[in-house]
């Protein structure tokens, strides 16, 4: 709403220079990086390179143990999208980057095979030959039949725009983590089921073998065993061993969610299971017994069959498909999430950045943004919620973290977890130990870090780049930046920088090489830790365990308030849905038939800059002034203070700036898995699959329609100004008509001018057919009313005339408007019937920017101390009133009735600010005793 993307695209620096007057420059954090090739005169919409695909898409590939890297599916699943792009080739590329060794079966010294709870790794790579750049998210799924029980997969977001990938890294990472976590959860579920079946098979086999052995024993009583008998005994023994192994595996896979989810809120069903299984884990019960009450019940009875004890690892066997590897429900959800991602990042980078800045700015204006923004508060909270969950472990990362507020102490811990991730694979730890270890965890101190760890880190880096073949160059990794982060945090703790740190910086700033594949940045392939091992790494446990109370409470609080919110949203959108259908009927020639997603739940970390190399100018939240809404940062003010103290000297240093960004990123990435797990679980309970999210008010398409229809209204009716004035000044506008579709269309269009009371849906009733009541005017500010010709309609008209002083009435059938006179200058600018604006979306943006301006005036008026309070005791009310009026007229430059608009908005602001629990009550009905006039065409 602040700036339109199509305006930004045309902006050139020269134009600014030629500007005769000196406007204060746009703050750096609000501006969008200019189109990189603008200087060469390139059309910003021309294809950057010889990319062979028409637009961004998501590719899922697998490194199959049988055939090597292969593409599995693309989203959107449309060959037109990727065109002639060689998916096979690219799959090879992206899968080869995953240097993280998929660790196999038996760790040395371990009696049983151990499952690796592998964290995902995130890599950005570019293939200049193909003109493709990709964010690649590697993950592994469990498959009983696969080598080492793991199957490596990756999801890649492929775009022709390198900057897009780089600058949206944070968001991409967060979104893909959610998808990945969803997939992995489903996979664990499926895997556990598979294990159970296998166990039953084995059990059955054992029984059969046992009987056979017994029979054989009885058959020969010669005192020695036949070779056949020995064979049987061996087979039995191997079956026994296999059973134990599988039981162990089952236990491991079940213990995973328990660990991961501890302390998070879950959907109720899941919670029961977890508790259920927590008790099992603690008593180390026999999985056989628990098989019935297991985590993933509700499976049809399985008939065990006789199997060979030794599993055959043959290549002719068909491996399971991705779909088979995952529980169906979760799989669908993952796909939904992926297509949501596709929608979310669709379009120009400029557009994405602008909308992100837009949202960030809106969030800043939390005093006024409720007035004209669609569900901005809900949006906000969702974002906050999403953000606060990742930030939960790092506790002091506020939803809108600014540079100064980067978490320092916690980052140390996350560094620790990296360390453990590096080494953990080599260490085995008995499960039983962990409970005792938990206590030690609590006393772990930050001092446990020494420079040696840095070294480990860098080694890891090097390993990464070495293992990834000659054509691949690791340019910057999360790990190296995390070292950086450590260095910063150490600095803040006045620990001298180690030489390694300097080196790591150098690594991270290497320039782009000529190779065909450049790994521009990677995330750590951190964590590789089987949960059982985590106990030996207190810091690693720390990340999950040691932030119990303060924030957790906060998150629970947020979680608990969210359901009604969602309900509200849904209500609102349900109300809207028919109207959208209507309008789609009316304007049938819309070119893109695809569902446009609301931008609402999209960008979780809009404030965060996720880019490592070229630092883009991004918005940072500065204004902490009027902070009213509950946010996580309030939960822990002290740590914020700490971080503020820690940083001031580095504020201007770009490298530190960079580093500090990465701190928050790494800490984020560390926890993203845990949290996204939660969110995915949560999304199973509620049906809020992102892509299924009904296109609410905030969908682009809706805005476009509304803008278009509003424009049409303005051009068609000469009395549009007084009508819009009525809406802006809080006088209910009743749109009266016989045809529901027409009325609804106009109401939807005019709704863009209606100020909201609070964070919920706008006070707009699209269609009413019963006589209006005084309550309706208190509740609704724009009403579509059915005109009934029958005698029943007389009541409606009677009521309307009775309450005429509270309403303006737009009669669509007779093309008349009855409302007070308007002589201001604001609305003509807002709704100029000779405007050159032709596109609905542009007009919508125009309206929004005008209204924002208006909001800021209302804000000034509301919060100017001296305007509302007498400066001294003897000052009369009249004096105060005249001061207010002169402020409105002279300082804010309002003319005639415009004053009323600002006054009304100011009242709404006051009410909103003072409201203890927003949305609980409707504000009073304010009105003026002013004469109305009848306008005719």
């Amino acid at each position: 709403m602040i700036s339109a993307p199509d305006v930004v695209a045309f902006t050139k620096e020269e134009e600014y220079e030629e500007e005769p007057y000196n406007e204060p420059a746009l703050p750096e954090e609000y501006s969008v990086p200019l189109f990189p090739f603008a200087s060469q005169g390139a059309n910003p919409w021309s294809k950057l390179s010889g990319a062979k695909f028409s637009r961004d898409f998501i590719l899922i590939s697998e490194f199959s143990e049988q055939v090597g890297p292969q593409p599995l599916l693309t989203i959107p699943n449309d060959t037109k999208v990727f065109g002639t792009f060689d998916l096979n080739y690219f799959s090879l590329r992206i899968m080869s980057v995953d240097y993280q060794a998929s660790f196999v079966g038996h760790p040395p010294g371990s009696a049983y095979p151990k499952l690796n709870f592998v964290e995902d790794s995130k890599v950005v790579l570019g293939d200049s030959k193909e003109g493709a750049f990709a964010y690649v998210h590697h993950l592994t799924l469990y498959d009983l039949e696969a080598r080492g029980f793991v199957r490596p997969f990756c999801m890649a977001y492929i775009s022709a725009d390198q900057h897009k990938i780089m600058q949206q890294f944070q968001e991409l990472s967060a979104e893909f983590s959610r998808a990945s976590e969803c997939l992995k959860t489903g996979n664990r579920k499926a895997f556990a089921g598979e294990l159970e079946k296998k166990l039953k098979d084995l059990d059955y086999t054992r029984t059969v073998l046992h009987t056979e052995t017994e029979i054989q024993k009885k058959a020969n009583d010669k005192g020695f065993y036949s070779s056949q008998a020995i064979e049987k005994a061996n087979e039995l023994a191997s079956v026994e061993k296999s059973i134990i192994e599988h039981q162990d595996l089952l236990k491991q896979i079940r213990s995973y969610p328990h660990r991961k989810l501890k302390g998070h809120d879950l959907c109720p069903g899941e919670m029961e299971h977890i508790q259920d299984q927590a008790s099992q884990a603690s008593t180390t019960s026999n999985p056989d017994e628990s098989a019935d009450t297991d985590l993933y019940t509700c499976r049809p009875a399985y008939t065990p069959k006789l199997i060979k004890a030794k599993s055959t690892k043959c290549f002719d066997k068909k491996l399971k498909t991705l779909e088979e590897l995952c529980d169906t429900e979760y799989f669908t959800q993952t796909l939904a999430q992926l297509s949501h991602i596709e929608h979310m990042f669709r379009g120009d980078l400029c557009y994405l950045l602008t909308s992100q800045i837009d949202r960030a700015l809106l969030k800043q204006q939390h005093i006024t943004n409720f007035l004209f923004e669609d569900f901005v508060e809900v949006d906000d909270r969702m974002v906050e919620k999403q953000e606060s969950i990742p930030s939960k472990p790092s506790q002091d990362r506020p939803p809108s973290s600014s540079l100064e507020e980067c978490p320092i102490p916690k980052v140390l811990i996350s560094v620790g977890s990296y360390k453990s991730s590096v080494e953990s694979v080599l260490i085995k730890m008995e499960q039983e130990l962990e409970d005792e270890e938990y206590k030690e965890v609590e006393v772990t101190e930050l001092s446990s870090f020494d420079p040696q760890e840095n070294l480990d880190y860098l080694d890891m880096d090097m390993k990464g780049s070495i293992s990834s073949g000659e054509s691949i160059e690791v340019l910057g990794t999360e790990k190296s930046t995390s070292v950086l982060s450590k260095s910063d945090s150490q600095a803040s703790l006045t620990v001298p920088l180690s030489p390694q740190v300097v080196r790591s910086k150098a690594v991270s700033h290497r320039t782009i090489s000529e190779d065909s594949i450049e790994v521009l940045s990677t995330c750590p392939s951190e964590a590789l830790i089987p949960d059982d091992f985590k106990a030996s790494y207190p810091s690693a446990i720390n990340e999950e365990e040691s932030y119990p109370d303060g924030n957790e409470g906060a998150i629970h609080f947020q979680a608990s308030i969210s359901p009604p919110e969602l309900g509200e949203t849904e209500e609102g959108s349900i109300e809207n849905t028919p109207s959208q259908i209507d309008s789609s009927c009316c304007i049938g020639k819309e070119s893109d038939g695809q569902l446009v997603l609301p931008s609402t739940p999209a960008h979780t970390h809009s404030d965060e800059d996720g880019v490592v190399s070229s630092p883009p100018q991004r918005h940072r939240q500065k204004d902490q002034g009027f902070r009213v809404d509950f946010s996580v940062e309030n939960a822990n003010p002290s740590s914020r203070d700490n971080s503020c103290e820690g940083f001031p000297t580095y504020e201007l240093d770009p490298s530190h700036l960079l580093a500090s960004r990465d701190i928050s990123k790494t800490s984020l990435d560390n926890y993203s898995d845990t949290t996204s797990y939660v969110s995915s679980v949560a999304s199973t309970s509620s049906d809020r699959i992102p892509s299924a999210y009904p296109a609410g008010l905030s969908s682009d398409r809706h805005k476009k329609r509304a803008g278009q229809n509003a424009l049409k209204f303005i051009r068609q009716y000469p009395f549009a100004h007084p009508a819009i004035y009525s809406l802006l000044s809080g006088r209910t506008l009743v749109v009266l008509g016989e045809d529901e579709a027409i009325v609804r269309k106009l109401v939807t269009a005019l709704a863009i001018f209606v100020p909201s009371y609070g964070c919920y849906a706008k006070p707009v009733k699209h269609w009413a057919s019963s006589p209006l009541h005084i309550m309706d005017f208190q509740k609704w500010k724009l009403i579509g009313l059915q005109r009934v010709a029958s005698p029943a309609g007389a009541g409606t008209l009677h009521a309307l005339s009775r309450y005429s002083r509270y309403t303006s009435i737009l009669d669509l059938d007779n093309k008349t408007l009855r409302c007070p006179l308007y002589r201001g200058t604001l609305v003509p600018r807002l709704a100029d019937h000779r405007t050159q604006i032709k596109r609905g979306s542009t007009y919508y943006l125009h309206v929004q920017s005008m209204l924002t301006q208006l909001c800021s005036k209302a804000f000034l008026y509301t919060f100017c101390h001296h305007l509302h309070l007498p400066t001294h005791d003897k000052e009369t009310e009249e004096l105060v009133a005249s001061r207010q009026m002169s402020f409105l007229k002279l300082t804010l430059g309002l003319v005639n009735e415009d004053v009323r608009v600002v006054q009304y908005l100011a009242e709404l602001l006051k009410l909103h600010y003072m409201q203890e629990s927003p949305g609980t009550s409707h504000p009073m009905l304010r009105f003026d005793y002013v004469p109305s006039f009848l306008y005719k065409i």
């Binding site: 309550m775 008209l797 005339s801 009855r818 509301t862 509302h868 003072m914 005793y929």
Partner: protein, 462 residues
């Protein structure tokens, strides 16, 4: 009230001119009520409003519940459930200054033949009295004696502890059933309106001689021709009664004699015979006196659809609005600023100002409105004599300065708060809080800065 119809081309100008109903346009510069808040809690007609203290009031009605509200915020504070039938009377029993417990009692009488005493601060029922033979229709508190009286078919006297002190014998069991109004007059007397009669009772407080309370009938006043509908105290020396056929009698409160008698609210002039239409509109309930209010100089009477100002000194009507409302006026009240507020069955509340008369108010000011229905039955011929009479008789005028339209049904009663505006209750189950928008806006600003200060945001920049 259908004064305006969308796009209406038909303008019954003639009717509008004929209508004696004074209308005021949409421009009401003197009307301070520019903000309203609809309060919804009742499920049936809300008939009674009673002020509890500076910021609270209670509402009661036919649904049998009593709701306590905050007049400032419109917040519903308490809901008192106990009665099974409609409430017929409600009164507060303020605590004595000497008394230690400060809790205020609310007494409600209901058609279920009970009286419930509530604690005004909690939803607690202090006591429920259900020994009544008939519905209690009026309640009154004699603060001086710290007793309260309930009037139905008999009159009972109760003390604060809710002991029945004494009661009268069964009063005349007329069709109109028992006591309809009850006021306190000097010398420990109360006057009760029973049908057409006024009965004066004297309360005998316990003395050295006898420890018993007693109540004695002292006198019956039989001067009214019809049922007495309204009865209030004018001052310490007089009280006023009004009857169904428009008799207004001012009585001496000490010797119970008639001080003044006014029956001029309708003129049984010769036109009555010739003009059938007049008969139609001047039927008796058009002149029944529903309510009184008074100040030092005047008694204001709600007579039928009209408002009359009766001067105590001049002993005559000094101002009137023959057709103040479209329908019967149910309640009137005098505001401190020489304003009079009336509410009516037509669902509107009107604000009047008593002005010294310069000249006769001419035709209603054309306001852009036009009457659809008009009140054509009162035609020119009918209104002419009335006007003449006014010219002769009145020296002041009631000017309409504003009307409040919100209720969709009869406005039963209203309550005026000096600080918080006006509360109206109606048969449409709603209560509306009318506020001075400007003042509220200022108060909100004040609260806003208070909150800013509390949050520490006010001086953040400093």
């Amino acid at each position: 009230m259908l004064r305006w119809l969308i796009g209406g081309g038909r303008e019954p100008q003639g009717l509008a001119e004929k209508s004696p109903l004074q209308t005021i346009g949409e421009e009401q510069t003197q009307n301070p009520y520019t903000e309203l808040l609809v309060l919804k809690a009742h499920h049936d007609i809300v008939r009674f409003l009673v002020q509890l203290d500076d910021y609270r009031f209670a509402s009661a009605g036919d649904d049998g519940i009593v709701v306590v509200w905050n007049a400032q915020t419109g917040e519903k504070l308490l809901e008192l459930n106990g009665h099974t039938q409609k409430i017929t009377a409600i009164i507060t029993f303020p605590s004595l200054e000497s008394c230690e417990e400060k809790n205020q009692l609310i007494l409600t009488a209901s058609a279920d033949r009970t009286v419930i005493v509530w604690d005004g601060d909690t939803t607690r029922q202090v006591q429920r009295i259900s020994c009544f033979q008939s519905t209690v229709k009026c309640l009154t508190v004699l603060q001086r004696l710290d007793v309260w009286l309930s009037g139905g078919n008999d009159l009972c006297v109760w003390n604060r502890k809710l002991d029945l002190l004494c009661k009268t014998s069964h009063l005349s069991d007329t069709v109109f059933g028992g006591i309809s109004a009850l006021v306190e007059i000097p010398k420990n007397c109360v006057v009760a309106a029973v049908g057409k009669e006024l009965i004066i009772f004297r309360l005998v407080a316990p003395t050295e001689g006898s420890l018993e309370w007693d109540i004695l009938e002292v006198k019956r006043l039989l001067d009214h021709q019809d049922n007495i509908l309204s009865l209030i105290n004018v001052n310490d020396l007089s009280f006023v009664t009004g009857s169904h056929i428009g008799e207004l009698i001012i009585w001496d409160a000490l010797d119970w004699t008639m001080q003044a008698y006014e029956r001029n609210f309708w003129d049984p002039s010769p036109q009555l015979d010739t003009q059938q239409e007049i008969k139609l509109c001047q039927k008796s309930n058009d002149i029944s006196i529903h309510h009184f209010t008074c100040d030092e100089e005047n008694v204001f009477a709600a007579v039928g659809r009209g408002l009359y100002v009766y001067s105590l000194q001049m002993k005559r009507v000094i101002a009137c609005q023959k057709t103040a409302h479209d329908s019967n006026v149910l309640h009137i009240a005098r505001l401190p600023n020489r304003q009079l507020i009336s509410c009516s069955e037509d669902g509107s509340v009107r604000i009047w100002e008593l002005r010294e008369k310069q000249q006769l108010a001419a035709e209603p000011v054309p306001t852009g409105f036009f009457n659809m229905w008009g009140f054509g039955r009162v035609n020119k011929q009918a209104s002419q004599p009335v006007k003449k009479q006014q010219e002769n008789a009145t020296s002041c005028s009631l000017e309409l300065i504003g009307d409040l339209i919100g209720h969709s049904s009869s406005v039963e009663m209203f309550l005026y708060f000096e600080d918080h505006g006006l509360v109206t209750c109606s048969a449409d189950h709603l209560i509306i809080l009318w506020k001075n928008g400007e003042r509220e806006s200022g108060l909100r600003s004040l609260r806003l800065f208070q909150k800013l200060e509390e949050n520490g945001d006010l001086y953040l920049a400093v």
